[in-house]
Amino acid sequence: MSRLVPAGEGLDARICLSRGEIEVDVALTAEPGQVIGVLGPNGGGKTTTVLALAGVLALGEGHIRVAGDVWDDGRRRLAPEQRAVGLMLADSLLFPHLRALDNVAFGPRSRGISRHEARERARTELERVGLSDRATSRPRELSSGQQARVALARALATDPALLLLDEPLAALDPDTRARTRSDLAARLTAYDGVTVLVTHDPLDALTLADHLVFVEDGRVTQAGTPAEVLSEPRSAYVGTVVGLNLYAAHGDSHGHVHTADGGLIVTTSPTEGAVWATIPPSAVSLHRHEPEGSPRNAWRLRIASVTMQGQSARVGLVGDVALTAEVTLESVTALGLQVGQGVWAAVKATEVRTYPR
């Protein structure tokens, strides 16, 4: 999605500030048209980052440059109303007393555009999110998905150079979320500014963003394209998000990987030194008796949890190596898997990936 653009046209920010318990130091860069997905656990600094970009919070240090303009350099700060920014939050936060059209026209009106022109613009924006027929509805007459789309139209009606979406789909029920997600994706492809999308839903990030930034405890723990992140997670949180068993470990040239917890994993793709090792949950097979054949990993583990997910089950295992296995429902019943029980877990050495830490 990146285009040939002169440097400094997109987003270039380093956000350093302390808020409450947390010290945030996050760097973000993007080119026009890019969608950056910011993920991380709650209270990790995602919303603080967004509020600093919006201008609601002041930077302690660092800088925010958008489309060549300096918004904040730690000393001089543009107020939110002076920034070409659009903001959309989890609860769409529409102005409850204004009709959909006037909600969307609020931005252009506030920026000095005539009532007539602002309404024309608002009509266009509502059309782009497929809501031209709900222009005269008040927010409470709209469904939650429609409210979210009006909020998106409102945020884009001022032609922002930077669009901030803070958990835009979090307040929606699953059905509405899926539909609104594709509406959002469609609208964002036609938007040529930088989008910063904060979410804790990996699906949002993977389907909407073309660059991911993980923020934990106020720091960036990993950044990269979705493909890079999916194949090589670099923190326990990222591992959970992408659904891989992830181990901080030490590897030797023989393919032995020693995890920090004292476990031993065998791989056919050795990396020496400090490594991350991953095992896909679907590569784990469970057996009642010790499996035969080599070279494979086999551990006697204890079942800590069993949860169902559609036609498969996720089995949480503890022991020498903490492991999540994804098995079919048939094998759950065939093996009679029960919490607290012992079971053998086997993983082919070819399924274990390692890469430098």
Partner: protein, 261 residues
């Protein structure tokens, strides 16, 4: 035993409760019983009542407008600020609420009187505030404004602060946000605050008589007239009182659903 115990606690709680109710209700009933309903229209049309009625209406209206124009911005500043000074300002605001009105009148004299803090600078220009209609308005505003500000501040604190963040990213200045979003959303609170402040201003007596005196047509509001007429023609005083009682009940009607459930 249990039966007797239940009766004893019923009496121990019921008797004081009934007394409290009687203390509050009997005076109102007495007032209504003593009213000569047929005479009320003519009483209210007497040459002394009409000027007082007009004065009360104008001064309380001005007070309401002052509350609206000056009190609303103050309420907004108090509502959005978490600064330590804010709680001090709020505490200061509540002082006129509990201050004996007479003391308020004295304080106003010390401010606007010929030798007062501000009055001494006005005297050279021939401007005299005490014992004028303006003094009545100042006295009423002094006692009524805190009610308005606290009511509106409460309503504004109920607003989601993120609405303001969104409005500002859309390009709205503070003034535009307040005009187009903040105030429209707290209109019920503003209406309630106005009703409360207006009712307080209408009943104002102590600060007014101290600071503005009791001059018919100039500073004699309805409560002051009631006080005077009680000596001269009690029936007129009762008729005016009935009118004020009716007005108070009407204000209660406005407030119902806001603070009263």
């Amino acid at each position: 035993m249990r039966y007797a115990g239940r009766w004893r606690s019923r009496v121990a709680l019921g008797v004081p409760a009934a007394l409290a109710l009687l203390l509050l209700v009997v005076p109102l009933v007495a007032l209504l019983l003593r009213a000569d309903w047929a005479r009320i229209p003519s009483d209210l049309a007497t040459p002394t009542v009409l000027p007082a009625l007009r004065l009360s209406l104008t001064t309380t209206s001005v007070t309401a407008v002052l509350c609206l124009l000056l009190g609303t911005p103050l309420a907004w500043f108090l509502a959005r600020s978490d600064h330590r000074a804010t709680s001090w300002v709020r505490a200061l605001l509540t002082v006129p609420l509990v201050l004996p009105p007479v003391v308020g009148g004295v304080a106003l004299l010390m401010t606007w009187g010929r030798n007062g803090l501000i009055g001494q600078h006005l005297a050279p220009f021939g401007i005299q505030i005490p014992f004028t209609t303006v003094a009545v308005m100042l006295a009423e505003t002094f006692v009524a404004m805190p009610y308005y500000v606290l009511a509106v501040e409460g309503a504004m604190r109920g607003l989601d602060p993120r609405l303001e963040s969104v409005a500002r990213t859309l390009g709205a200045s503070d003034l535009r946000y307040l005009r187009t979003v903040g105030i429209p959303l707290v209109l019920p609170g503003i209406a309630g605050g106005l009703a409360l402040a207006w009712a307080r201003a209408l009943g104002e007596f102590g600060a007014t008589i101290t600071f503005a005196g009791n001059f018919p047509g100039r500073t004699q509001t309805l409560p002051l007239l009631v006080y005077v007429e009680l000596e001269r023609d009690p029936q007129v005083a009762i008729s005016i009182s009935i009118m004020l009682l009716v007005v108070s009940v009407l204000v209660l009607g406005v407030l119902r659903g806001r603070w009263l459930r």
